[in-house]
């Protein structure tokens, strides 16, 4: 993929901010965000497509503008700031990403243009109840049957699954130790049932049970290729996209809090005049900057395919989770009682930040992965490190 120039990125960001501030206001958001609301707005989705956001990372030959993950992250950050309800992640990052990584030329040619055009919504149904954050735990099985596969299994709660046209389902092909394949299963397939539930942040999702027959054409790519590594890479991309969203949400939460404290008076002066609260706001701002900086480093590392990319993603997810928790909790705390109601953005941003913190692995999980890859590093370092090339962090 090619990346946009700084000017093109700037234009993309401005189009996002302009549209979302004008057309995606908080009152309307409140109406739409309830369990019976139109969360996955068809109008909005079409407009996102028209503005070129959905195809921003889809290659030009397939109807997109051929940007990289950094461009997607600009979209996600704006989505975070404005609390976009639609499932960008499932369709644009994971869904399109899965097709690009695992699909045949024909599948790409068929599906990617539809995604860019806003005609196809996807949800990535990979994780299973007992998997937790583990990425290689797949017990769903796809047994070859006449003309297709019999899918049997259960996929954990996935945001946006209730509204997706196609579910991207991972399953072991043939047997419990078979290669992991990715299937595009229409949500409306017989034998696919959803237990729909709201998430912490009121967005809907569903657990998915599969006991269904699907045609062979639903498999992405060839049947004998194991997709575990691709899934790992996809989830890295999704994790950093979620970090970008969190960066947007954190920046918004911090800015809201600063503005509120400047006008809210107690004990005879604006709260923003109290030194303790000033320092808290400084630390919130710093937390935002830190997450933004390392997420940016991870995005560029992924976009150029740096050897350190995965490690940087893990580091970024840890830092973002920690920043998000601090900013989210302090934003509520400093708003006081009013922040505890559903009437302000603060609470909604807090809940979304909690979701971002958890999605695709929390700080503990990535710290464990980082710590497990340290020992070699330790050994390497205690020998003569003057002989070695410098580490790229």
């Amino acid at each position: 993929m090619t990346s946009f120039s700084a000017d093109e990125r700037q234009l993309l960001d401005e189009s996002l901010q302009n549209f979302l501030s004008e057309k995606y206001g908080f009152e309307r958001w409140q109406q739409r965000s309830g369990p019976s609301g139109d969360q996955y707005g068809s109008n909005e989705w079409r407009q996102f497509a028209d503005l070129g956001w959905l195809g921003v990372a889809i290659p030009e030959e397939f109807g997109g503008t051929g940007g990289g993950l950094t461009e997607l992250a600009i979209v996600m950050a704006a989505a975070g700031r404005h609390m976009v309800l639609e499932g960008l992640l499932g369709t644009v990052v994971l869904g399109a990403g899965a097709i690009e990584l695992a699909g045949t030329q024909a599948q790409k040619g068929d599906l990617l243009p539809k995604i860019a055009a806003g005609e196809l919504r996807l949800a990535f149904c990979h994780s299973e109840q007992d998997a937790g954050y583990a990425r290689d735990y797949v017990t769903t099985i796809a047994r070859p049957v006449d003309g297709g596969y019999a899918l049997e299994g259960r996929k954990a709660f996935t945001l946006g699954a209730q509204a997706a046209d196609l579910l991207v389902v991972s399953a072991r092909v043939g047997a419990a130790d078979g290669p992991v394949g990715l299937f595009l299963v229409p949500r409306e397939t017989d034998g696919v049932s959803l237990n729909i539930a709201p998430a912490l942040d009121a967005r809907l999702g569903a657990e998915v049970r599969l006991s269904a027959r699907v045609p062979g054409s639903t498999l992405l790519g060839r049947a004998d290729v194991d997709r575990t590594a691709s899934i790992d890479h996809l989830i890295d991309r999704a994790a950093i996209a979620v970090c970008a969203e969190a960066c947007g949400a954190m920046a918004e939460a911090t800015q809201n809090t600063i503005e509120y404290l400047k006008v809210r008076e107690q004990f005879g002066q604006p709260l923003a005049k109290f030194q303790v609260l000033q320092h808290r706001l400084v630390d919130m701002s710093l937390a935002c900057e830190e997450a933004r900086a390392i997420v940016h480093a991870a995005l560029e590392a992924l976009d150029v395919g740096a050897a350190s990319a995965q490690r940087t993603v893990w580091q970024a997810k840890v830092q973002t989770a920690q920043s998000a928790r601090f900013v989210g909790t302090q934003s509520l705390q400093l708003h006081g009682g009013i922040g505890m109601t559903d009437e302000l953005k603060a609470g909604h941003l807090y809940k979304r930040l909690c979701v971002c913190e958890a999605m695709f692995g929390d700080a503990d999980w990535y710290l464990k992965k980082l710590s497990q890859t340290l020992p070699e590093h330790i050994r390497a370092r205690t020998q003569d490190d003057r002989m070695k090339p410098p580490e790229v962090a």
């Binding site: 109840q129 237990n195 709201p198 107690q266 004990f267 303790v276 009682g337 999605m359």
Partner: protein
């Protein structure tokens, strides 16, 4: 240092056993079932249980005997509350027994004591608290609701907010401004108001939990008999501070914390990563150990307070503010861990599962919705009863003389 004994004696063991047995026998099965699922109780369910406690006199066990109490030492109340918590009993509702009641028997006149105390002790009346206002949060004394004398009545106008259970309450105690010409603390009076008085409107507030138990209460020319005033006119701040100290003390309920931990432990066995339960992961065992230490420390602080109060009769240096600070910080840490554990299960929050008659299917462990509800609701714990920032101001000024 280490001079007065803080050891707890064993004389309360029999009482502990009595409470335990009472709970085992008397908590209605339906309530127990709902409590285990963290489902919200309705008023009738609360009443059914609280009246049982009222009959035993336990609801107001801490009150002095002359006002119908049992004269419990604080330790005895702690045992009582701990056993209630362990037995899965509904929580006690503070407003009558710990807030209004003590103000009335301490500062009220004989008429008022006669009129209100017995009904509180028997749970015949529900009270709610008219303290906070939209413009006056932690700076409570800057309240704007006003009461103007008109013959033998006050005419009250204004608005209160964050009023728990106002929609169920029979009575409300409110702070109102009766003199706007003096220093803000000096012009406040303390009134008891019947919620059925014309001119009172209750409007629900939906919390970030998506649940309703908080309200706004509007007063539009509400006529309140002068005899409903506690103590002297314009002296209400004195009574208000007394009540706030009680409120702070009661914000620390170890029984509740134990209940959270029990649910987290249950979740640790059920939630998995890569097929292995989280309870096998040293990271979580370490987190439990850290919470264990903090819980033990908070209990030791409490024991220390009680010992000091017992021997010297005066509250120890740091006082209720310290317990409020550390207690609420601990509470939020426990509930943070809850969210972390459940996060692996997808960020689901089935809030409707907390309503009765829900017949949906759980995504993940059945303790999930209740823990997340508490996580969200208790983000307010460091805000309500005076924000933790204000508590630190109080300690800085009061205890450290800064």
């Amino acid at each position: 240092m280490f001079i007065r004994s803080v050891g707890s004696d064993n004389r309360l063991n029999a009482f502990r056993e009595e409470v335990r047995q009472f709970c085992r026998e008397k908590i209605p099965a339906e309530i127990r079932r709902k409590q285990e699922k963290s489902q919200h109780l309705d008023k009738a369910e609360y009443d059914a249980w609280l009246k049982l406690l009222g009959e035993k006199g336990w609801l107001t066990g801490k009150w002095p005997k002359e006002y119908g109490g049992l004269g419990w030492e604080p330790e005895q109340f702690l045992v009582f509350e701990e056993e209630l918590g362990k037995a899965g009993a509904p929580p006690l509702i503070n407003f009558g027994i710990n807030l209004a009641g003590p103000v009335i028997f301490t500062f009220g006149n004989d008429e008022q004591k006669k009129k209100y105390l017995a009904d509180i002790a028997k749970n015949n009346t529900w009270w709610c608290q008219g303290y906070s206002e939209p413009g006056a949060g932690s700076d409570l004394a800057s309240l704007k609701s006003r009461a103007v004398r008109d013959g033998d009545h006050y005419v009250v106008n204004g608005q209160k907010t964050w009023t728990s259970w106002a929609h169920w309450a029979d009575m409300i105690f409110v702070l109102v401004r009766t003199d706007a010409t003096v220093k803000k603390q000096a012009g406040i009076s303390f009134l008891l108001i019947d919620m059925n008085t014309p001119g009172i409107t209750v409007r629900p507030i939906i919390g970030i939990t998506r649940h309703h138990h908080l309200n706004e209460v509007f007063f539009d020319n509400v006529r309140v008999p002068v005899e409903n005033r506690i103590g002297e006119e314009n002296q209400g701040w004195t009574y208000a501070k007394f009540l706030l100290a009680n409120e702070r003390l009661h914000s620390l309920s170890f029984a509740k914390f134990e209940a959270y931990l029990a649910k987290i432990r249950k979740a640790l066995d059920v939630v998995k990563d890569g097929g292995r339960p989280l309870s096998e992961d040293p990271t979580y065992r370490r987190k439990l150990a850290e919470l264990d230490v903090r819980m033990a420390t908070a209990k030791a602080l409490m024991a220390d307070q009680l010992a000091a109060a017992r021997t010297t009769g005066s509250p120890p240096m740091m006082g209720a503010a310290a317990l409020k600070l550390r207690g609420t910080e601990l509470q939020q840490s426990i509930l943070q861990m809850g969210l972390e554990v459940l996060g692996r299960n997808g960020p689901v929050y089935q809030d409707l599962a907390l309503e009765q008659n829900w017949d949906g299917e759980f995504v993940g462990p059945d303790v999930s919705a209740g823990l997340i509800y508490e996580h969200l609701y208790r983000r307010a714990a460091t805000i309500y009863s005076g924000s933790n920032e204000v508590q630190r101001n109080i300690i800085a000024k009061g205890a450290l003389g800064l």
